[in-house]
Amino acid sequence: MLQLSSKPKQTGDAALGLLRERLNRVLLGKRDKIELVLACLLAQGHLLLDDLPGLGKTTLAKAVAQSFGAKFARVQCTPDLLPTDITGFNLFNQKTREFEFHAGPVFSDILLADEINRTTPRTQSALFEAMAERQVSIDGISRTLSSTFFVIATQNPIDSHGAYPLPEAQLDRFAMRVEIGYPDSEAQLAILSAACGPTSKATEEGTSLTLEALAKLQNETSQVRVDPRIQRYLIELCNATRQHESIALGVSPRGMLLWQRVAQAWAKLSDRDFVIPEDIQAVAIPVLTVRLVARVKNSESVVHSILSSIAVPKYQ
């Protein structure tokens, strides 16, 4: 049936290809996940990495940030983290006798929020405002964030003791949830042999893609053609999530919009300027698992059953 490993063609924009190669060098053996991350990037969505520690979440996020030469910030979420630790704060300068704004980590292009479910809901919501509105309000002053502001949040599914699970409304702000998973044997072998070499500079120099180029790509993504029949297919799928018996809360219109945009990005990554049903299906699991409130634990199988219940549009 649906396979996430269905790789889009690796041609595409030259710069995009460079970026893809670079990420693949950093995170070995995870091409399919990297495609999803790229799709999320093109769709201007935020990414939730949901996996065990030590699988390369942070490595991936850092590599993405460095690829653009973008400003990268990282927040390690702990229970005592305060909203101002994320947004920034005004400090009274004794010398100048004026308040000075100290920008928080959100004033960056790429923000890595590690273990986001460890911090308090108050802090979480501060971050979510930034994610949704791309602006923060501090002491009544709204401050706009970078236009390519991109959040990669990670959370640890085990060890839920003392954690604050993200509420559904907030999960809806993420475009997708990706589980990186263990690399296969060959990739592990490559990882091990890479580590045995002489200690070199871990990071690669230079950028693959400028922020301006990224913005242009994002703009192009939003213009990828979606046929009305594809849209109807998408609507049917969304309706099915709302009526499915093992789903408590179906896809919201916002979720639907994001799904379409991610499918557009997927088409763009496949070097197409139109969306086909396979694009919708390919991104269904990462897009849906983040926002469906399933009554059963295994929400992926629910997504599978929904996908298999709706007929793809016929060629006309």
């Binding site: 396979q3 979606v226 046929d227």
Partner: protein, 832 residues
């Protein structure tokens, strides 16, 4: 607007049911005088026409308006181009389709009448009304249209009920009434309840005026229709066919207007077969079976020739004289004014060269003479002393005459009876032609047994007369021969009963007879005197000998046809110089008339041990059957000869040895037919089933063959159709190969990934095809490139069912591993 549309749809169903009931009533009415097959075909055609109208209407509606109402649409379309309005406007289609539906019965009937078939015009008008009602109900867009439909179906139902003779007709009217009542209550009850007596007010004067005007129209129409108005006393225009009222005669005219004023005798029996069953010709100078015993009205009409007649009471006659006007006014005297005599329309004779008319089975043989002795050239009657006897039987008010219960009819191979009738017009014999197995007969008011009798050769006659009086209708009931009983009676066990009777006349031993006997022995060397042998012999005669009507037509002529004496038989004699009798000539040349056939068969069957006799009479030719009248005219040309064979128990069974004439029909039960043809039926069923199985099993091969053939004739179609076709073919092939594509997986995904066709040498074509197909479908159009078309063809040829079949095991394993992987990974994530 919305509410009224809803209620319209709710009411529509009721109106459709009513219209369908009325159509059923019309079909029932027609089924009494038309063949059901024709009605069924016509109804099916008509239903198809209505269906097509609905379909076109639905399509045009769907393709036309979207969001706009029809009128708005047509206006805006009209601004752009007139053509678009016409092609897109559903109302136009509806109007055209509806008109065609309504006019169809009239046009079809007109054409059918031109071709010699058809029915009365009034039926066509009723048909137009019925289908008009249905169309109005189906496509009504106003409540008023629905009401019109209900009125149409109501009128039709009432009309057919009233004009029908059948009791069951009234049940259809009841049904219609019940449905209509339900429909009315469902639609109008709320309104009725809302109208309290005190709230009803006359708002204007128009209603009473309308009532008065309507009443006037009704009265005038009734006056005109009742024939009291001078203007319309004589119909000048014939809207529906009459049988002579306007001077014209039409075969399609039903019971109703007769041949003018005088011939309305069929007053108790609307579907009377004869012009008269009783007394109309009392004032005719021709001899009649009936006479009036009446001394009140002066001299009766003097007949030119009188015969025995039954005296009728005066109440059985009808007064045809007109009443004289009287005046009892103050003048105290009789008026001298007399009513003017009614202008009597001169009656026209309806000419026909038929000697009689037969209502009953066609292909029947009516016997008038029977011959038992054959002297080599001629047949002779041997009048027997033991004539059949008969008795009287009173059924209803009529007297029937019936043969004795202990005659062969009771013990013979008979089952069921059939009622038939014969009307004599110019028959010049006192014998009544009857079919074999006649059991009962009756002539209207004749209640005297000595009016009938049997001749020495067992034929029914009216003794002491020159001929049966003209326009006499004889009704007959005859028994049907049952094939099963016939075969049981002549089976081997009772075969001894058919041994030649002692009274069997001896055959002469001339050469013709000897030859016939020889042929019979050749054909049936070991005959066992069974029915099958009789059938076999007759069949051989029918198939190996040729019928030649131009040969000598009468028995007398046949007997005179001496060789050399008649120049007409030169050819016969040329063939065989030594032929001495016509029978021998017939047997040598294998050509002859029906008398020769019957003679040969009779002689041969006697050789086999069956008593036989030659019968002459009339053959009811199926070709001259008048479908409109439901009767068959019998002319002198229908004179015929055949033979009867005695199978014992005083039972004579007619046989038809002459080719070109229908063999006598025997009544057979379904069970018997099935038993007889069990092996054939079983063979056919098994053959059909195995054929169907074979087709089913080889459906993939057939499909591939068709495709392979079709691939040499590439269709010139649009690219979209081409893509659709190829995808459809691939889907069908997958289904044949047992790896049907689930609907939720796109073709590309299924073929390339799930079936792993991306490893094939032509996967490039597959990829290209799907890329271009996607571009065409979802990428905003374009078309297939030359390579794309080539890819189409390549897929068409390469991805055959057989190729896909080889993938089946592969597919299942790949599929399984995929699934397991998935579930394992899911499991892992959820378990933590």
């Amino acid at each position: 607007m919305r509410a009224s549309r809803l209620s319209l749809d709710r009411r529509r169903s009721g109106a459709i049911v009513l219209a369908v009931i009325s159509i059923a009533a019309l079909v029932r009415l027609r089924s009494t005088c038309e063949s059901l097959g024709v009605i069924a075909i016509e109804t099916a055609l008509h239903a198809a026409l209505v269906g097509a109208t609905g379909w076109i209407f639905a399509i045009s509606k769907r393709s036309g308006t979207r969001g706009l109402t029809t009128s708005q649409r047509s206006v805006s379309e009209g601004d752009r181009s007139g053509k678009a309005t016409i092609t897109r406007n559903p109302q136009t289609f509806l109007l055209i389709g509806g008109t065609v539906c309504v006019l169809f019965p009239i046009v079809a009937n007109f054409l059918a009448r031109q071709a010699g078939g058809g029915t009365g015009e009034e039926i066509a008008y009723l048909g137009a009304l019925a289908w008009g009602g249905l169309v109005a109900a189906l496509f009504a867009q106003l409540n008023r249209t629905l009401s019109i439909s209900v009125v149409c179906s109501g009128f039709l139902t009432l009309f057919t009920t009233v004009s029908s003779d059948h009791h069951q007709a009234v049940y259809i009217a009841f049904l219609w009434g019940m449905v209509c009542l339900w429909w009315l209550i469902a639609n109008h009850w709320e309104r009725v309840e809302a109208c309290q007596i005190d709230s009803v007010k006359s708002t204007n004067m128009r209603t009473p005026l309308a009532i008065i005007a309507g009443g006037l129209v009704f009265v005038i129409a009734a006056w005109t229709a009742s024939g009291r108005s001078v203007m319309f006393s004589r119909p000048s225009l014939e809207l529906v066919q009459t049988s002579g009222g306007s001077g014209r005669y039409d075969a399609a005219a039903r019971s109703g207007v007769g041949n003018g004023d005088a011939v309305v005798a069929a007053r108790d029996h609307a579907a009377s077969f004869g012009a008269v069953d009783t007394d109309v010709f009392l004032d005719s100078p021709m001899p009649s079976l009936f006479d009036i015993f009446n001394d009140q009205f002066g001299e009766p009409v003097r007949k030119k020739k009188t015969e025995r007649a039954i005296a009728l009471a005066p109440r059985d006659t009808r007064s045809t004289s007109s009443r004289t006007a009287q005046s009892n006014s103050s003048t105290q005297s009789f008026t001298t004014r007399r009513s003017e005599p009614k202008p009597r329309q001169p009656l026209k004779d309806v000419r026909s060269n038929a000697t009689m008319f037969w209502i009953g089975r066609v292909g029947e043989r009516l016997a008038t003479e029977r011959y038992t002795r054959f002297d080599g050239t001629e047949w002779h009657q041997e009048l027997q002393e033991n004539k059949p006897t008969f008795g009287e039987l009173k059924i209803g008010e009529r007297v029937w005459f019936s043969t004795d219960a202990n005659s062969g009819l009771a013990t013979g191979p008979y089952a069921d009876s059939v009622a038939e009738a014969v009307k004599f017009t110019r028959f010049r014999s006192n014998r009544i032609p009857t079919p074999a197995g006649v059991q009962m007969w009756h002539i209207d008011l004749v209640d005297k047994a000595d009016f009938f009798g049997f001749t020495g050769d067992h034929c029914l006659e009216m003794p002491g007369r020159d001929h049966v009086p003209d326009y006499t209708t004889v009704r007959l009931v005859s028994r049907l021969i049952d094939r099963e009983k016939l075969e049981a009676l002549t089976s081997a066990s009772t075969g001894a009963a058919i041994a030649p009777a002692s009274s069997e006349p001896e055959l002469p031993s001339d050469r013709g007879v000897q030859l016939a006997k020889q042929i019979a022995r050749e054909w049936l060397p070991n005959s066992s005197s069974r029915w099958a042998d009789v059938q076999l012999l007759v069949e051989r005669l029918r198939s190996e000998f040729a019928f030649d009507r131009s040969g000598s037509t009468s028995l007398a002529k046949a007997s005179n046809a001496e060789p050399g004496a008649d120049p007409e038989t030169e050819s016969d004699t040329a063939l065989d110089e030594g032929a001495s009798t016509p029978l021998e000539t017939f047997l040598m040349t294998r050509r002859g008339n029906d008398v020769m056939f019957a003679t040969a068969a009779a002689v041969m069957l006697r050789e086999l041990g069956f008593p036989t006799r030659l019968v002459t009479g009339f053959y009811v030719d199926p070709n001259s059957y008048d479908r409109m009248a439901g009767q068959t005219p019998i002319t002198a040309a229908d004179a015929h000869a055949w033979l009867e064979v005695n199978i014992g128990a005083d039972t004579w069974i007619p046989l038809e040895p002459t080719p070109g004439y229908r063999t006598p029909t025997y009544r057979t039960t379904w069970l018997y037919l099935i038993k007889r043809n069990a092996s054939m039926i079983a063979g056919t069923v098994v053959g059909l089933l195995s054929g169907a199985c074979l087709l089913w099993l080889s459906r993939a091969y057939l499909f591939e063959c068709l495709l392979r053939i079709a691939s040499y004739f590439p269709p010139v179609v649009s690219d979209r159709r081409r893509v659709r076709f190829v995808v459809g073919v691939l889907d069908r092939r997958c289904r044949f190969a047992g790896i049907a594509r689930p609907r939720s997986i796109s073709p590309r995904e299924w073929l390339l990934r799930n079936l792993a066709l991306d490893r094939t040498p032509w996967s490039g074509s597959l990829n290209r095809f799907f890329n271009e197909a996607d571009q065409l479908n979802y990428g905003g159009g374009g078309g297939l490139s030359a390579e794309g078309r080539k890819a189409c063809k390549e897929i068409w040829r390469e991805a055959s069912t057989f190729y896909l079949r080889r993938l089946r095991p592969h597919k299942s394993t790949a599929w399984q591993t995929n699934k397991t992987n998935e579930t394992v990974s899911v499991h892992a994530t959820t378990e933590f």
